[in-house]
C-alpha cells in the first residue's frame, strides 16, 4: 500500500456506483411523476364529478341497518359506527375461525399420518378437495345449498341443549345473570388462573423429578367444578333464556345468523385444509429417531405425539400457521358474497355505494387489513426469535 490515489479509467457510466445513483434517481423521478399525475387526475376527476374529498362523511347518519352488531347500532348511527361494527364483525369471525380451523386442521393433519389406512385416506381426500376448490364456491355452497334449504322457523330443528336451528339462523340459549352471578364469574377466573399455576408447577415438577401430573384432568375438573360449585352455592344465579316459538318466528335466546354460520363454516373448513398440510409437514420434519427414541422408552402413541413430536414440530409449524391465520382474516372479506356484515361488506360495499367516496373508503379498508397483517407478522418475527433453535 503506497497510498497512491486510485485512478479510474473509462467512462463514469461504467462505474457501478454512479449507475446505481442514476437508476435510483430515475426510479424516484418516475414515482414522483406518477404520484403527481395521479393526484392531479384525482382532483380533476373529483371536481368534475362533484365528489368532495375528506372524512366529513364519518359522522353522517348512515341510514341503513345491520342485523349483527356487537354494540348498539341502528339506522340512525353514523358511518363511523358502521365502520366499527364491520371491523368488530371481521375480528369476531376471524377469532372463531382461527380457533376452529386450528383444532380441525391439527386433527386432519395428524389423521393424514395415521397408521389407520382408511382414516389417512379420508383425511387426504378432505385436504385435496378443500384445497382445490375456490373459497367463494365453498361459501356459496354452505350458504345457499346447506343453510338456505333448512326448514322454516315453524319447523325448526331442535338441537339437544335447547338450541333451535332453522333457515333464519341458529338460536342458542341466552344466559341471564341474576344476583350473585359475579361469584360464578370469579370462580371461573379462579379456576383459569389456578389451572395455569398448576400447569407451571406440574411442568417444573416434571422437569425436576420426572413425575407426570394429570394436568388435563385437573384443569378440566377445576374449570367445570369451581363454577358449578359456585352455581350451587349461589342457588342458581345464572339462568338461561331458552329460545321458543312465538308466532311466526323464534323468540328469545341469542341469534346466530346464517351468514355468520356459513362464513365460519367455510373459513374453518377451508383454512383447516391448509393447516392440515402445514401440520403434516411439521410432523414429518421431526426426525425419525425422535419417534424411535420415544417408542424405546415405552411412551404410548398419544404421549409421544404430545410430549415429543409436536413440541419439536411446532417450531416448523408456527410460521406458516401464522400466515394461514392471516389468510383466514383476509379471506373473511369474502363475506361480501353472502352478505355477512363484515368490514368489506359494510364499509367497502354499502358505505361506498351510499357515499361514493372511493378513495377514502378503499384506503381506510386497506389500511385496516394492512395493520392487522403487519401486527401479525411483527408478532411472528418476535415468536420466531424466541423459538429459534439456539445453536452453539
Amino acid at each position: 500500500m503506497q497510498g497512491a490515489p486510485v485512478t479510474r479509467k473509462g467512462s463514469p457510466w461504467y462505474d457501478p456506483k454512479i449507475r446505481g445513483y442514476v437508476y435510483q434517481a430515475l426510479l424516484i423521478g418516475a414515482v414522483v411523476y406518477i404520484g403527481y399525475a395521479m393526484i392531479s387526475n384525482v382532483s380533476q376527476n373529483l371536481a368534475r364529478q362533484r365528489i368532495p374529498f375528506g372524512l366529513d362523511f364519518w359522522d353522517t347518519q348512515a341510514g341503513f341497518d345491520i342485523n349483527q352488531a356487537l354494540f348498539p347500532y341502528t339506522a340512525r348511527s353514523s358511518y363511523g359506527d358502521a365502520f366499527w361494527v364491520g371491523l368488530l364483525n371481521t375480528l369476531l369471525v376471524a377469532a372463531f375461525g382461527i380457533i376452529f380451523a386450528t383444532i380441525l386442521g391439527f386433527l386432519v393433519g395428524i389423521a393424514r399420518l395415521s397408521k389407520n389406512w382408511i382414516v389417512a385416506k379420508a383425511a387426504m381426500v378432505y385436504v385435496e378437495v378443500i384445497r382445490n376448490l375456490p373459497l367463494l364456491l365453498q361459501l356459496l355452497f354452505w350458504y345457499k345449498a346447506v343453510l338456505e334449504p333448512l326448514p322454516r322457523p315453524r319447523d325448526s330443528i331442535a338441537i339437544p341443549g335447547g338450541a333451535l336451528l332453522n333457515n333464519r339462523g341458529l338460536y342458542v340459549p341466552e344466559p341471564v345473570f341474576g344476583a350473585g352471578a359475579g361469584l360464578i364469574g370469579a370462580a371461573f377466573l379462579l379456576a383459569v388462573f389456578g389451572s395455569i399455576a398448576f400447569y407451571v408447577w406440574a411442568k417444573q415438577q416434571q422437569a425436576a423429578t420426572g413425575r407426570i401430573y394429570p394436568i388435563g384432568w385437573v384443569s378440566l375438573g377445576a374449570l367445570i367444578g369451581l363454577p358449578a360449585l359456585a352455581y350451587v352455592v349461589t342457588g342458581g344465579a345464572i339462568s338461561f333464556n331458552y329460545p321458543a316459538m312465538g308466532g311466526l318466528n323464534v323468540r328469545g335466546g341469542i341469534t346466530v345468523y346464517p351468514e355468520f354460520i356459513a362464513l365460519l363454516l367455510g373459513l374453518t373448513t377451508y383454512t383447516a385444509g391448509f393447516i392440515a398440510e402445514v401440520v403434516r409437514a411439521g410432523i414429518l420434519a421431526v426426525s425419525k429417531g425422535q419417534w424411535e427414541a420415544a417408542d424405546s422408552l415405552g411412551l404410548p402413541y398419544s404421549r409421544t405425539l404430545s410430549n415429543v413430536v409436536i413440541p419439536q414440530a411446532l417450531r416448523v409449524i408456527i410460521p406458516p400457521l401464522t400466515s394461514n391465520y392471516l389468510n383466514l382474516t383476509k379471506n373473511s372479506s369474502l363475506a361480501v358474497v353472502i352478505g355477512y356484515p363484515d368490514l368489506a361488506q359494510v364499509f367497502l360495499g354499502t358505505v361506498l355505494n351510499q357515499t361514493g367516496r372511493a378513495i377514502e373508503i378503499v384506503g381506510i379498508t386497506m389500511a385496516v387489513y394492512l395493520t392487522i397483517s403487519l401486527l401479525t407478522s411483527a408478532f411472528m418475527n418476535y415468536y420466531n426469535q424466541r423459538m429459534a433453535l439456539v445453536e452453539r
Binding site: 376527476n45 379420508a122 382445490n132 375456490p134 383476509k330 358474497v337 367497502l348 361506498l352 372511493a358 387489513y369
Partner: protein
Amino acid sequence: MNVSANASAYVQAQSLPQLPAPSSTKGPVHWMRANLFASPANTLLTLVALYLIATTVPALFKFYVFDAVWSGAGRDSCLSDKVGREVGACWAFVGDRLQYFIYGSYTQAERWRVNLVFLGFGISIVWLLWDKAPFKSVGFLFFFGILPISAWMLLYGGARAEFWFLMAGFALLAWSIWGDLSAARKGEADVFTRPESLLRYGILAAMLLFGLYVQFGPGELPVVETGLWGGILVTLLIASAGIVCSLPFGIALALGRRSKLPIIKLFSVVFIEFVRGVPLITVLFMANVMLPLFVPQEWSPDRLLRPLIGVALFASAYMAEVVRGGLQAIPRGQYEGAMSLGIGYGKMMRLIVLPQALRIVIPGIVNTFIGLFKDTTLVTIIGIFDFMKTIEASFADPLWATPTTRATGYAFAAIFYFICCWGMSRYSISVEKKLAAGQKR
C-alpha cells in the same frame, strides 16, 4: 456325534417345501389387521370412518348419478312430480346452459374466435409445460408475446384492435430480427436458418398475414364489447393475464428486493408487503373504483380491464416472493463466479442466476398460479361474468328453476375448478420429484 446321512431314519434327507406365510403376517387379513384394526381405538376410528363414508358416498352417487336427469328441455324434466320419480341432479340444465358457461353472452356467430384463442392457449400450455416439447424459447415468445396480443385482437375485433395488433406484430418481428442479427454479428452461424428461428418467423408471419388479411381483406372483424364476454373465457383470460404479467413483474420485484440499491429495494419491499397485506377484494375494489379516478377521463379503463390490472398487481407481489425464494437458494459462488468473469448485472441474472433460480421454484410458481386461478372467482364481486358468476346467474333463470338446479350447478363448478387445480398441483408435484431426482445425483 454320530449323525451322518445314512444313520437314522428320523433325519430328514431333503428339505421340505416352504409353507405359505401364516395369514397373520401376509395377505389381506394381515393388511386389514395392521392398517384397520391394529388396536381398539384404531378399530373404533375405522368403524366411525366407515359409517361416515357409508352415509355420504352412496347418497352422493344416488343424487348425482343414479337419480340424475341427463337430458331434457326445461324445468319440467327435472321436477319429480312431473317425471314421476325421485329426481337428483339436473344435468340437463348444465347441458342446456353449457354454451353460456363457456362463452358468456359472446355473440353467437363470432364464437369461432373464442375457440381459436382456446386452441392457441391449449397449444402454448402443452408447449410450455411438457418437458420434452421442442423449441421452448419460441414457446415462451408465443405465450408471453404473440398469444396475448392475438387473443385481444381476435376477441375484441374492430379496426383499432387490428391496427395495434399489426403494429405489435411488426414490433415483435423487428425485435426478433434484431436479436438474430446481433447474434450473427457475434459469429453464431445459421441464426436465420436453424429450425427454431424458422418456426419463430413462421408464427410471426402467420400472425402478420392474418392481421393484414383482416385489415385489408373483405371485412373487418366486428367488435364484441367486453361486457358480453363471460364464462370460462373470462376465467381463463383473467388467470392467464395474471400469469403473463405476474412472472415478469414478479421477477423484477424480486430482483429489486434483493438489490443493493437502497431506494429500489425500499420501493420493492413496500409494494410487495403492501399488496400481500391486503385482501384481493380490496385490490379489486381499488382497481374498479379508484383506478378510473387516477387516470385522465378519456383513458378510463374498460370494465373488464380493471380487474385484470388488479389481479396482475396482486399476483406479481406473490410471485415476487416465490422468485425471491429461488434467488436466495442460489449459492453465492454462482454470483461470484459470474462477477469474476466480468459479466454485468443484467447478463449475470439473465444467463446464470435466473435460469437456475426459476427452475427450482417451478413448483412454487405453479402453486401461486393455483391460488390465482381460484382467486379469479372473486371478480364476481365487482360484477364481472366469470365462470362462477355465469353459473350463479343461471339459477335466476325461471326456465330451469328446480329444487336441484343449484346443487347441480355448484357440483359442475366444483368439478371444473377441481380438475384444473388438481391437475396443476399434480404437475407441480411431478416437477418437484424430477428436480429432487436431479439434486440427489
